[in-house]
């Protein structure tokens, strides 16, 4: 009962903080597609991750934009995982540049299968290098299994601040509905929503085992827009080496 009260308090905080804030006023080069996080942490886990987001659009200033994130992460216990990202972007007609960095902490709140839904929380700090823009975000992560289907939902609020941006609080959400067909091949559907992004599309994921405890986790998805401020196509790839 005590943990249930904490969960409800967290959701109430999320609702009250996120709903009535002013929206950012410039969707230029914005794309809210990323990845959907699960709430699980393993002891002694280490990983290197490469994430690629490529978007195309009828509007030339939003077409042919590439975003890359590379990270190293490790668990400090069986409940807490730390990860640091370097983020790079190539805008139309420009060269690829290091844009910023991010530090992330994932905390697994409940044991997998202990309750109907598994819970976690992610705390993020992101900072741009060339401009004084930073973000602090909290993401509530929930995952539930129905037979061979797994549904995962990420709900977040972020505080953007810095001298090159109007301070504001935004909210975002993403979700994944995935079928556990084979370990190496699991098809699904994902959606992403934030102040400008609203998109949905198919995703394929899987795990390929190497020697010992080496594992390769891969994801590939194609997100189509559901509103006018989401790029026409967003391709996303993720490759994660666990060792």
């Amino acid at each position: 009962m005590r943990s249930a009260r904490y969960k409800l308090a967290g959701v109430a905080l999320l609702c009250s903080a996120g709903m009535d804030q002013a929206l950012a006023d410039n969707p230029e080069h914005h794309n809210g597609v990323g990845s959907v996080n699960d709430p699980y942490v393993q002891a002694m886990e280490r990983e290197i991750e490469l994430r690629t987001i490529f978007q195309t659009d009828a509007k030339s200033s939003e077409d042919n934009i590439l975003r890359q994130r590379i990270s190293y992460g490790f668990s400090i216990s069986d409940r807490v995982f730390l990860e640091a990202y370097a983020i790079g972007t190539r805008l139309p007609d420009q060269s690829f540049e290091l844009e910023g960095y991010e530090i992330e902490t994932k905390i697994q709140l409940t044991e997998q299968g202990e309750y109907n839904t598994d819970w976690g929380v992610i705390l993020e700090y992101e900072r741009q290098i060339s401009e004084s823009i930073a973000e602090l975000a909290t993401v509530l992560v929930a995952s539930r299994q129905w037979g061979n289907w797994v549904g995962t939902l990420n709900l977040g609020i972020e505080y953007e601040f810095g001298s090159n941006i109007r301070d504001e609080i935004d909210r975002f959400a993403s979700g994944q509905w995935r079928y556990r067909y084979r370990e190496a091949f699991e098809p699904g559907v994902e959606f992403y929503a934030d102040e400008f992004t609203l998109g949905i599309g198919p995703v394929l994921t899987g795990v390929i085992r190497g020697n010992g405890n080496n594992k390769w986790h891969w994801e590939a998805g194609l997100i189509a827009p559901l509103n006018d401020t989401t790029p026409d196509q967003t391709l996303r790839f993720l490759l994660e080496w666990e060792f």
């Binding site: 249930a4 997998q112 102040e195 989401t230």
Partner: protein, 120 residues
């Protein structure tokens, strides 16, 4: 990409997602007392390597790792993985499961640490 999109679509979607989340939270009530089964890992083997659990019921596994080295209890069929460091214990909740056989293995010792849960 047009810049005059209707932002209310994303806002109402977020509100609906929160409603679904709240309902899910309310459904996640504390579980009743559930059967507990114990497994030991010794010299990179599971003991027992094969055991039965009841069908359509949630079960709690307590896994004791008696070795000095870590082991990972893993099963794609059970959708579970749990690293248990040396000389410690871990808890894994499984089920409710349909009758059948569900193999598991120790990821750090794939050739020796093998087992099977029989659900009846």
């Amino acid at each position: 990409m047009k810049m005059n999109g209707n932002l209310t679509t994303g806002r109402s979607f977020f509100a609906r997602a929160l409603q679904v989340l709240l309902l899910t939270l309310l459904c996640s009530a504390a579980w009743a007392q559930i059967p507990v089964f114990e497994i030991e890992i010794r010299e990179h083997l599971f003991f027992p390597a094969e055991f039965e659990i009841p069908a359509n019921q949630k079960v709690k596994l307590i896994i004791y790792n008696r070795d000095a080295t870590p082991e990972e209890f893993e099963s794609y069929e059970l959708n579970r993985e749990k690293v248990i460091v040396g000389n410690s214990q871990g808890v894994v909740f499984i089920g409710p499961l349909k009758p059948g056989e569900y193999p598991f293995f120790g990821e750090f010792n794939l050739k020796t640490a093998l087992g099977k849960i029989i659900v009846k």
